[in-house]
Symmetry: C2
Subunit: 385 residues, 2 copies
């Protein structure tokens, strides 16, 4: 399932030996066609890992035959030699699949600043190619791209019009302002040209992964790829396809949110009454990045003053004495001052909703984040050791 | 000492009963002249506490007779009634000192969104007025403005030209991008007009408090005031005065940094080789706000990849393959890739220095921050309970 839910795809996940733990660490996803149309979105970080630079270049052609992904090393900040490693990885995939390296995307995740052990990675590519399957391969691939993810993330949706969209994702730390730190491969057996896939992918990620902000840290490696095999021969309406793709992305976003490192709360920040959607996102993201508020939610303290102090640092349209804030449905702040009794707020459930009404217009947006916990600190204090 | 080190100032710190702990919570600083020239800088947060709105208005006159400060409540997000409370506080000070409320600044710190208990605060003003002294009063005042500060922060410098600058500050959490969350009162017995004080204060705070960023959270209450009594009759060169004032501000900044909530490391991020000072500050601040890096430093892990991923999110002038990073003097990253052996970095001392060379120009700046610790989470999860 996952990336192999749609027709025309095979996948595998194997142990190449990149992780000390001996867990799966190399995944391969192959599009058997007949179409090879593809699109991708990448991290906006200006320090980009070698595989991002490579895959961006590959995607300018709008075609992908395969994607090879590894955990156990980000291959970021590794200089020209690191780029050569990515190139060699794509060439090895091309060789075993008898295709062109120019149609092979590469994704890496793990520690920044270390070369990948190519003597183990390249034989891993061969092993993965030998294990490609339509069924369990999708799950093995989703498992192989995990770093600190406690579970593999997969999703799929069947269209009533007969085609399917599937996907897998990884990401648990460094979940950030623009694209959660993540790798994600989406597949479909619908038949759409690369430009249509690109539009749909940007629309879907713009309201899902792009609005997940666990810790404000933007990765060097974020990559989301969409591959279409066209195996059903069905060409859907672009709007319906985009809607279904957005559902899959939202499903994966939710899985990333719930599994974020050290998080004990899944917080949805809904900004309403904004003068523009951009304002709503800016305000939501600023709240999502406020360490003090995230600590308060962790402590189950409905500290709405920290919400207002975060809103006040943005350039969004609002008047301080017209802001309303609800936490889990209780309007604890009205007109910029104290409102209903904060003792009525029950913050024990894992899901927390914060609604901020800017009273400045008709627009809205939701940003998702996590609480800030001692577990987050512990996980990220010891990551590279 | 502290604010009473210069001639012409008296101060007091008393227990008004605003804090449940029974500790001092109200401070009064009085300028006995002959000059009353003053200047102030305030939070850039658009959600401003009532005392900030009040004091900004007062400072437009360029004169201050007194400053009253309370801990135990921020009087922020308290609506028109909260503003009236601030006004009434200034009026009470004016009454006991036989002056105008238009020359009384008010500062508050504590929890946002709750009214101050005026029935205790106003008698506290009377008590403070009765205890004003030139000596110990400065220390008592510095003690009274503490919230989670574990120690009072005071500093003073004697000019070789015969005048003095003194100061007190508080601030431990919500230390933020532009002005650490803090209250600070600076005094001098030099004789300078309000405009000169304003220029000197902006110059001094711009390179000290403004470059302290413990948790990226900008407060609603930040206030730094500078009062000149002119009691020595000395009018210093503005450049020399600014240099001395900057020293006092740096001294207090260092004290705030070391006492920041839950911090176990004091981190100086020096950005060199920048195309502009603005670029250097932007890069330094982005690094200072990177939760993953702050966790890594807490774990004594010289994780330079997290430095580069933070730099990459800025719009500063740089090329990714020309960045060099030193941690505690070891150049662990050269030309955007791994450099000297990271095992040589000793991160056990409390003071940590991170040097980032952008290789893009002659400008530099230093931003100070703390590590992110489980103690920070604990302190801020339980603050309002």
């Amino acid at each position: 399932m996952s990336v192999t839910a749609p027709q025309g795809f095979r996948a595998a996940g194997v142990v190449a030996g990149l992780k000390d733990s001996g867990a799966r660490d190399l995944a391969l996803v192959v599009n058997d066609g007949p179409s090879r149309a593809a699109a991708g979105v990448f991290t906006t970080n200006r320090v980009k890992a070698a595989p991002v630079l490579w895959s961006q270049q590959v995607l300018t052609g709008g075609r992908l035959h395969a994607v090879v992904l590894n955990s156990g090393g980000a291959n970021a900040c590794t200089g020209p030699a690191g780029f050569q490693d990515t190139h060699a990885t794509a060439e090895r995939v091309a060789a075993v699949l008898d295709t062109s390296a120019g149609e092979v995307a590469v994704c890496s995740t793990g520690l920044i600043g270390e070369r990948l052990p190519m003597d183990r990675l390249l034989p891993g590519v061969d092993a993965a190619a030998n294990e490609l399957t339509r069924g369990d391969g999708g799950l093995a691939a989703a498992d192989a791209i995990r770093t600190t993810d406690t579970v593999a993330k997969i999703a799929f949706r069947q269209s009533e019009h007969g085609y399917m969209i599937g996907g897998m994702a990884k990401g648990a730390g460094m979940l950030a302002p623009s694209l959660a730190t993540m790798l994600c491969v989406l597949t479909t057996d619908a038949d759409l040209p690369a430009q249509a896939l690109d539009r749909a992918l940007r629309a879907a990620t713009g309201v899902s992964f792009d609005r997940l902000d666990a810790d404000g840290c933007l990765s060097t490696n974020d990559t989301v790829l969409l591959l279409a095999s066209g195996a059903t021969g069905i060409t859907p309406e672009e709007e319906e396809f985009t809607r279904l793709l957005t559902e899959v992305c939202h499903d994966l976003t939710r899985q990333l949110l719930v599994d974020a490192e050290g998080a004990s709360k899944a917080i949805a920040i809904e900004v309403i009454g904004a003068a523009s959607e951009r304002d709503a996102v800016v305000v939501g993201r600023e709240i999502a990045r406020n360490s003090l508020l995230k600590c308060a939610i962790h402590g189950e303290d409905p500290n709405w003053g920290r919400v207002l102090s975060a809103v006040g640092t943005t350039d969004a349209v609002f008047e301080p004495d017209q802001i309303n804030v609800a936490i889990n449905g209780v309007w604890v702040c009205r007109d910029g001052s104290f409102g209903d009794d904060r003792d009525k707020v029950d913050l024990r459930p894992r899901d927390v909703s914060i609604t901020v009404d800017l009273s400045a217009g008709p627009h809205s947006a939701t940003v998702w984040t996590t609480d800030l916990t001692a577990d987050y600190v512990h996980e990220n204090s010891a990551y590279s050791t």
